[in-house]
């Protein structure tokens, strides 16, 4: 992509959020409703609320939970997905079980997990892992199955077996699907992090937002929601960056196929 094109995409990408913010600003400018404070008030509350201390106390622990949960889910999802995708029999045996487990919404497990893992970080991370593992796993299975049979034959002929096969054929071959799963998992992980922190926590973004709301610190609550949104955007940009590097070959391949 050229620099000019990149700049244009970035401008377009920023235009809609800017418009929405402007709308929000105008719509709430003379608001007297305590639950919907003017955006100007929310902005002015922001610096005093999100001090360095608060970032350290609430944002860092949240990010740590989110990332541990996400990374664990990706590792487990990819490992299980490769196994299930590679063995025809395993897939047939496991499919109904997987469908059942996937249908259970992760938050309802919180009471169960609390019984086993208590209310500390383990519980919050487990909830994220449970919710995020499915999109990664199912997309990985899909990706492994989508690997071109000619490429599989080529690998077999040239003695690319076992770990080399995993490294040079299966993982790169499934990586476009794996990244699609990771993107779904990332948005889930933010939701699950907040839910986990609303249950039993002494810090974290979800915890602070609930605290603000309970103490009627409404502008502060709104700033918390904005921080949450910013965290989400930052993480998805970061994942996008990693994806563009890791899948450069894939985007190039697709462009060359479109040209034909």
């Amino acid at each position: 992509m050229t620099a000019e094109k990149l700049a244009r995409t970035a401008t377009l990408g920023a235009a809609l959020p800017a418009l929405l913010l402007a709308l929000w600003w105008v719509a709430t400018a003379d608001s007297t409703d305590p639950y919907v404070p003017p955006l100007s008030l929310i902005f002015s509350t922001f610096p005093e609320t999100w001090t360095a201390e608060r970032l350290q106390h609430d944002v860092i622990p949240s990010l740590a939970r989110l990332l541990s949960g996400f990374v664990l889910a990706v590792v487990i999802g990819v490992a299980a997905g490769v196994a299930v995708g590679s063995f025809h029999g395993l897939r047939h045996t496991l499919e109904p079980v997987l469908e059942f487990l996937r249908a259970i919404p992760s938050p309802v497990l919180i009471p169960v997990v609390i019984l086993f893992a208590g209310i500390d970080d383990t519980m919050k991370i487990l909830v994220i892992v449970y919710g995020c593992v499915w999109p990664v796993l199912l997309n990985t299975v899909e990706g492994v199955r989508a690997i071109d049979s000619v490429l599989t034959d080529t690998s077999r002929c040239y003695g690319i077996n076992r770990s080399a096969r995993l490294r040079h054929l299966i993982l790169p071959g499934a990586s476009p699907h794996i990244f699609a799963g990771m993107r779904q998992a990332l948005s889930l992980s933010i939701i699950l992090m907040v839910i986990g922190e609303m249950f039993a926590a002494s810090n974290g973004l979800g915890f602070s937002i609930v605290q603000f709301q309970r103490s009627f610190a409404i502008p502060e609550m709104w700033t918390g929601i904005i921080v949450l949104g910013l965290v989400g955007i930052a993480l998805s940009l970061l994942l996008g960056l990693i994806e563009r590097r890791a899948l450069a070959w894939y985007f190039g391949l697709r462009r060359s196929q479109r040209r034909e």
Binding site: L151, D153, C157, Y158, G159, Y250, L253
Partner: protein, 274 residues
């Protein structure tokens, strides 16, 4: 080197490759079974270059996949050296008909050629040497760091050939490897194959549906019938071992042989109507 090894006496040379009563039926189960190959028997002596021609859909690819151990025959067997092939044997390289799809899109041209050598546990210096040599042999010394999808179809095909050549196989199977290259490159690659074959002593099974090509390249041309497939005829190409594009192709014997193979193919197409 003489080219009259079509039926080597068993006491003398053991065949490198022995295809015995090969039959392959696809499907069954949910789909109607397709009998791609009915009964193929032939052998290839060590260091021989054999071309296989046959109408489209005759089962040439099926035959190669059985030889490569990528597929189990329904009946019969393929014996390589002294062993029945039951999986991909070591020391065998294959250039697939779907050459474009046989290249790893996430690897550069150089990495594509080098990967099988890594799995062969060759030291780095040797690998580099082989990769450079193979890529310049096919005229691709300038695209080492390109990705396959950045190349034209003909160039991709040459990468696949370079990968097979760099592998230094004992047996090389090629499935219509020159289908996507222009006439000049094709002539160059034909000479390259002959030169590599004579230099390395590799056994080559070369599938093509270009009759001239089969006569120009091979010591023997095995003509297959249309599906369900049997060997129509095993034609010995008694041209001198020293061949060149202009001289050989304009020789009288070449003309006779190509006419012979051509009429066999015509017969092959109508084989089952008789």
């Amino acid at each position: 080197m003489t080219s009259t090894v079509s039926k080597p006496p068993l006491t003398d040379t053991r065949p490198m490759l022995d295809v015995r009563g090969l039959k392959k039926v696809y499907g069954g189960g949910r789909t109607d079974p397709v009998e791609a190959v009915r009964d193929l028997t032939f052998s290839v002596a060590p260091g021989e270059l054999v071309c296989i021609v046959g109408p489209s859909g005759a089962g040439k690819t099926t035959l190669l996949k059985c030889i490569a151990g990528l597929m189990q025959p329904t009946e019969g067997e393929v014996v390589l050296g002294a062993q029945t092939v039951s999986g991909p044997p070591a020391g065998m390289a294959v250039v697939f008909q779907e050459y474009g799809r046989s290249l790893f899109p996430w690897l550069t041209v150089r990495q594509n050629v080098e990967l099988p050598l890594k799995e062969k546990k060759l030291p780095k210096a040797r690998r580099t040497e082989l990769v450079v040599k193979a890529l310049s042999a096919v005229g691709l010394e300038h695209v080492h760091d390109s990705y396959p999808w950045q190349l034209s179809g003909g160039m991709q095909q040459r990468v696949a050939i370079a990968r097979a050549v760099a592998y230094e196989p004992q047996v090389l199977l090629m499935d219509e490897p020159f289908a996507a290259v222009d006439a000049q490159t094709r002539a160059d690659l034909e000479d390259l194959v002959r030169e590599l074959w004579r230099r390395l002593g590799v056994t080559i099974v070369f599938v093509t549906h270009d009759i001239d090509e089969s006569v120009y390249l091979g010591q023997r041309v095995i003509v297959l019938s249309s599906s369900p497939t049997v060997v129509m005829e095993d034609v010995t190409v008694d041209l001198p071992a020293e061949r060149d594009q202009i001289g050989t192709r304009s020789s009288q014997r070449f003309g006779e042989l190509r006419t012979r193979v051509y009429s066999l193919i015509q017969q092959a197409k109508h084989h089952h109507d008789l």
